[in-house]
């Protein structure tokens, strides 16, 4: 379980990024997480609530977009999506595929913030 250190890293990065928008409140943090990234969404959500307390992220939503595994199939000369994680074979032709093109991502895609209007 390293979800807590992942969340701590999210808090650091987002806190740094919102410093450019003084007074802004973080509403949502969107992640892109590959199916092979070995993080569990429930644990992330659980840690998120705790780790964001007292930070600019407190009260914000964590949205986790899981990306399927994509491999390159040499036989089909195409990138193909795997249906699960139990067999790294092309779903079209059955060839074993070891050329991973997507699935290990673990990144903050974007954040949504509410900005206070500047007084005129």
């Amino acid at each position: 379980m390293h979800e807590l250190s992942i969340v701590a890293s999210i808090v650091d990065t987002v806190t740094e990024s919102v410093a450019a928008y003084p007074g802004a409140r973080v509403v949502e943090v969107r992640l892109r997480v590959g199916a092979l990234a070995s993080v569990i969404e429930d644990s992330l959500q659980f840690c998120y609530g705790i780790a964001t307390e007292g930070t600019p992220l407190e009260g914000s939503r964590l949205v986790v977009n899981i990306l399927p595994v994509v491999v390159h199939c040499a036989a089909c000369a195409a990138d193909v999506e795997l249906e699960g994680l139990q067999s790294f074979r092309c779903p079209c032709c059955g060839e074993p595929c070891s050329d991973l093109r997507q699935g290990r991502e673990l990144e903050i895609e974007a954040i949504e913030i509410d900005e206070v209007e500047e007084a005129v």
Binding site: S9, S38, E107, I108, E109
Partner: protein, 225 residues
């Protein structure tokens, strides 16, 4: 109040990835092949490394090992019996090694400099989940699986086996008594990581060790060519 979407596109483990890239460059400049050994607790990483270090030393290779452990230095003491330099990394409850820990323990390692080594072995903390996310800058990641822990381990932990460059089956001397289904284990590893090199070994009898040592020598030669 206005709502704004700020695109970040930032890797969450970016700090580790950057440190690992720095380590990788150092290893390559020093001509040292680095291996990261990952498996469940008790698969036989330490036992396998003991034999590997001993045999490599006997063949004149310059070897050293870093060993991660939650609390004890038992594994480091076992490995040091080979005569190779060994340094313990106590993670104090953290379930994996990361690039920062490796960097810190390489710095100021008395009597050991990367450019005086041919191979550096890193025994990760026994865990099948977390170590797979943390790049240590290694050249080869080795996933180990013992005959006693079930042929379906690769299917249960696809991330770890998929991110490995080589697989080692340990405790082959127990294959008979355990009713180990060799074909099934090889099949499952190949389903998760097609084409991976697989070594069937026993640290107790020495089975498969020569083949493993030959692989290491080949890999090192091909990388420094």
């Amino acid at each position: 109040m206005t709502t704004r979407i700020v695109e970040l596109r930032k890797g969450i483990l970016k700090k580790n990835d950057e440190l690992a890239a720095g380590l990788r460059a150092n290893y390559s400049a020093a001509g040292v092949l680095v291996l990261n050994l990952v498996s469940s607790p008790g698969t036989g990483k330490t036992e396998f490394l003991e034999v590997t270090l001993r045999e490599m030393k006997a063949r004149g290779a310059r070897v050293a090992a870093l060993v991660g452990d939650l609390e004890t230095d038992n594994d480091a003491r076992r490995l040091a019996a080979s005569g190779a330099p060994v340094r313990q990394i106590n993670t104090h409850g953290i379930c994996h090694l990361d690039a920062e820990m490796i960097g810190k323990h390489l710095d100021g390692w008395e009597g050991v400099a990367l450019d005086g080594l041919d191979y550096l072995f890193i025994e990760n903390v026994g865990n099948l989940v977390c170590p797979s996310s943390y790049d240590l800058g290694e050249g080869i990641r080795v996933a180990l699986l013992s005959v006693t822990e079930g042929e379906d381990k690769p299917l249960k932990y696809p991330t770890l086996f998929n991110s490995a460059d080589a697989a080692v089956i340990t405790k082959m001397d127990l294959a008979g008594p355990c009713g180990f289904n060799r074909e099934l284990a090889l099949h499952n590893i190949n389903e998760i990581r097609p084409g991976i090199r697989i070594f069937e070994t026993s640290a107790k009898t020495g089975t498969g060790i020569d083949e493993w040592l030959a692989y290491l020598a080949e890999e090192r030669a091909s990388r420094s060519a």
